[in-house]
């Protein structure tokens, strides 16, 4: 079964250029329903107000980091089953382990390529 390309995706990064890059790469993969947030708190508000099927988030953000956002999402009965991909420059083993323990679905290290993004999306949406 093919992936439903009409799903709502929330991308979270405090760096607007990175949001633009991810949005364009998602568009090339035919994902056109993409919303943006620039920190964890804004993302959480959008998630609670909307109907998202995938979260792609950076780690280093203030006032709420990507890890804190992940913890909030996993603690929220309505949001906890949404696949969560962390996209970050933090690439030490302890970062990956901390994210995994918090319930991350997959982890992409920056800089990344379009193929990696596609592969991880397919995997967390159950088609990998």
């Amino acid at each position: 079964m093919a992936i439903d390309k009409s799903i709502n995706i929330l991308i979270v990064d405090d760096y607007k250029t990175m949001l633009r890059i991810i949005r364009n790469l998602l568009k090339q993969l035919d994902f056109n329903n993409v919303e943006e947030a620039t920190d964890g708190a804004e993302a959480l508000a959008k998630l609670r107000a909307g109907n998202f099927s995938l979260i792609i988030s950076d780690w280093n953000m203030q006032p709420m980091s990507g890890l804190q956002l992940l913890q909030e999402v996993r603690a929220d009965a309505k949001l906890k089953s949404i696949p969560f991909i962390m996209v970050t420059a933090e690439s030490k083993a302890e970062n990956v382990v901390a994210a995994r323990q918090a319930g991350v679905s997959n982890y992409i290290v920056k800089p990344f390529n379009a193929e990696t993004l596609k592969e991880k999306i397919e995997k967390v949406l159950g088609h990998g």
Binding site: M18, E94, N95, V96, V109, K110
Partner: protein, 214 residues
Amino acid sequence: MAEAFQRAAELDERLAALRARYPEAPVEVVAEIVQSILVTLHGDLSSREASLLHEVEELGQVIVNAKREIESLRVDEITDRQIPSATDELDAIVTHTAQATESILETCETLDDLASSLPQPYGAKLQEATTRIYEACSFQDITGQRINKVVQTLKRIEAKVAQIIATFGGEGEAPPLPESPPAAPEGDGLMNGPALPGAAMDQSDIDRLLASFD
């Protein structure tokens, strides 16, 4: 220290001269006279204590000289001009490369729109090229984070230098040191930014680590 040794040698010479001049005088008597002179010079101090006192005085002079040398180096220029100027330059690099990246992305988006109207295989080829450009543009995020780390380091050096000036120059209070970045994923989970090549895991290492949890 060298001066102390020189003085000890001079003392030996003088004692030898005294013995030659007054061969009848017992060594103990000469020592007693020397001890009496030292006590007169340094109050109740023994010769050993007087020697120590002298060395402490010498050390004090070394510190005074070091203070003068540090003052003459004009280290305040580092905190007043050089480091602020370096951080401004780095900020300008981030701003200009961000503007350039935005322009590149805008152009790429135009090419992407054009790609969908081109016959194959030209449309696919063009989109493939824009994908590579999008990927390459993520350098801006990484370099921005790296430069930010350098700026934070410069600010710490600036504060340390200011503390040295305040300690030796005695002019005003040193500014507080900026906080060190957290070293581990604790608290709010803010991290250290990109690691240098070879110092962290690549995507395949991360995939293997994640797979080990399944």
